[in-house]
Symmetry: C2
Subunit: 322 residues, 2 copies
């Protein structure tokens, strides 16, 4: 197994929203990218969409000229062609164990012996679909947030048979393309990001179920309160700075409150059909189903503006440190 | 009971970090503010600190000339003087039931018959300290995020005896001063904000306890992933926009994953002394205890810049809608 080579080719297998986002990340950083999708024509359509996204990113001040970036991305006509000479494969197909298992068998048959393979799986560990392939020591999960070219986090999660060198080489690759890798020591369903999102959503559903607050007010509490800190500090740094003596001091002051909250959150039904219908109705009052795509476009604009804001602030922090 | 009168006097009782922040919110919006603190000299010191904060806010482009704002804030020499002609009292003393109960008795003895009283309590419901006062129908919790002049959310939480008109009048006052009120229908420990923060922190502690990830990587997963959405959308809007068919579609796709995550999160010790010491040690490697204040100042600068960013984006959204 060799190190990931600088500017070697990256293969994207599965060219939906996630795969297309990854293509932008690697091509923007100077890597040649090969797109492959089993659905005929899908990779070509993805390339056209990537071109539109690159123009949006340039307008938002997040990337330069789209032309040389797009020029690094080619459509491969077969899996074999996509994987030829690839240093890394980013698998981004549908999130189902049988689909990923079958694809891994196909990849295993043609992949080079030094190529590393990351899966975009958002919750299923690589152990569920790589056990029986010869390349399994070179497989892991590399889970992005959508879209990866705006949210830098990538969760690296090894299967029990993933080689430690695989994790370290993919970490270096991710850092080299400007992403921000985090590591789990072993698999846990949902990884870090969706476990944290999951428990918060669970409590949000409970508050609605118990009639304590509306979905709209819960959303405001996050977007105009908690989320304003979490956009640049994590939960531990937030509480570390929220008591004069740091996190241990905070735990002394507020640990009891949080224990009592935890004790009162058990045994309620959530993610339940009736409750989902109730919140769906509340959401549709604020946003008609027909307006979901335009609101999605709004979300993308705001994410781009926020990404640029964060970049500028980080750069200013760096200058202040010099 | 009358409506909250426009630009009537607001009394701040307890002039620590929270009370001082409230003074800026009300004075910035044109309300005369009286500061009172039982500790001799404390209100005067708060006024000096408020002056410094107003200069910071002006530099960040968030407020205009500090002078007229500061001129609206006066130090009262007694509780009686602070409450004279006040339309609203924002109680911001130490978060302990006995302390708040005693203060409410003192307020009850001198408060005007139309004055409304909001408590900054971050987790204790008003029922725990207002049961035996005559003014209890005019009392509720109005819990801010720190600092309230940067994070607009205010949680309004009625006690069982709070008059509905009290909630509505305080809501209008909060909207008038530019805050963003949300309402609970009844008390629940921790209210909305700290319940949501609490469950996320609980899972964060568990991930560290189980050795699945470091506190640093958990922080990065939020600040460079989840938090980038939650800074301008709440958790329900986030998932509503994260599946083509909206929130019900999302629940169909991912409800099962979140149910499995929930099933795997029970019965671990968290907020436990040994675990706190472990995360404290991880944090102190990144940030020495002596550097907590300077990092707190960094946090305040970043919050100000983010608040300005959000204001500009909201204004651009409004212009686009016109």
């Amino acid at each position: 197994m060799t190190e990931v080579q600088h500017k070697g080719r990256v293969a994207i297998v599965g060219t939906g929203l996630v795969g297309s986002g990854w293509a932008i990340v690697f091509a923007r950083a100077g890597y040649p990218v090969a797109l492959y999708d089993a659905v005929p024509g899908a990779a070509g359509r993805a390339l056209a969409l990537i071109g539109e996204r690159l123009i949006d990113l340039q307008k938002a001040g997040l990337t330069g000229d789209p032309a040389p970036i797009q020029a690094r991305i080619m459509v491969a006509s077969s899996l074999t062609e996509a994987l030829a000479n690839a240093i890394y494969v980013q698998e981004s197909v549908f999130e189902r164990v049988d689909v990923k298992t079958e694809l891994m068998r196909e990849i295993d048959a043609v992949v080079g012996k030094d190529t590393l393979i990351g899966s975009s799986s958002s919750g299923i560990g690589a152990s569920h679909f790589t056990e029986h392939v010869a390349c399994r020591a070179r497989c892991l999960v590399a889970h992005p947030v959508n879209p990866p070219y705006l949210a830098p986090i990538v969760e690296l999660v090894p299967a029990p048979w993933t080689a430690p060198e695989t994790v370290q080489a993919v970490r270096r690759l991710m850092e080299d393309v400007g992403q921000s890798p985090v590591e789990m020591t072993r698999e846990a369903e949902g990884f870090i990001l969706n476990r944290l999102q999951g428990v918060l959503l669970m409590e949000a559903w409970r508050l609605v179920e118990q009639g304590l607050a509306t979905a709209e007010d819960i959303d405001k509490t996050v977007s105009q309160g908690l989320g304003l800190r979490w956009a640049f500090m994590g939960p531990f740094e937030t509480i570390d700075l929220n008591a004069p003596g740091g996190i241990a001091d905070y735990a002394t002051r507020l640990g009891g409150l949080y224990q009592r909250i935890a004790a009162s959150t058990s045994e309620h039904r959530v993610w339940d059909a009736e409750l989902i219908a109730k919140v769906e109705a509340q959401r549709r009052e604020h946003l008609a189903a027909a307006d979901l795509p335009s609101r999605g476009a709004w979300r993308d604009r705001r994410l781009m503006a926020l990404a640029r804001h964060v970049q500028q602030q980080d750069a200013a922090d760096l200058r202040a440190d010099e």
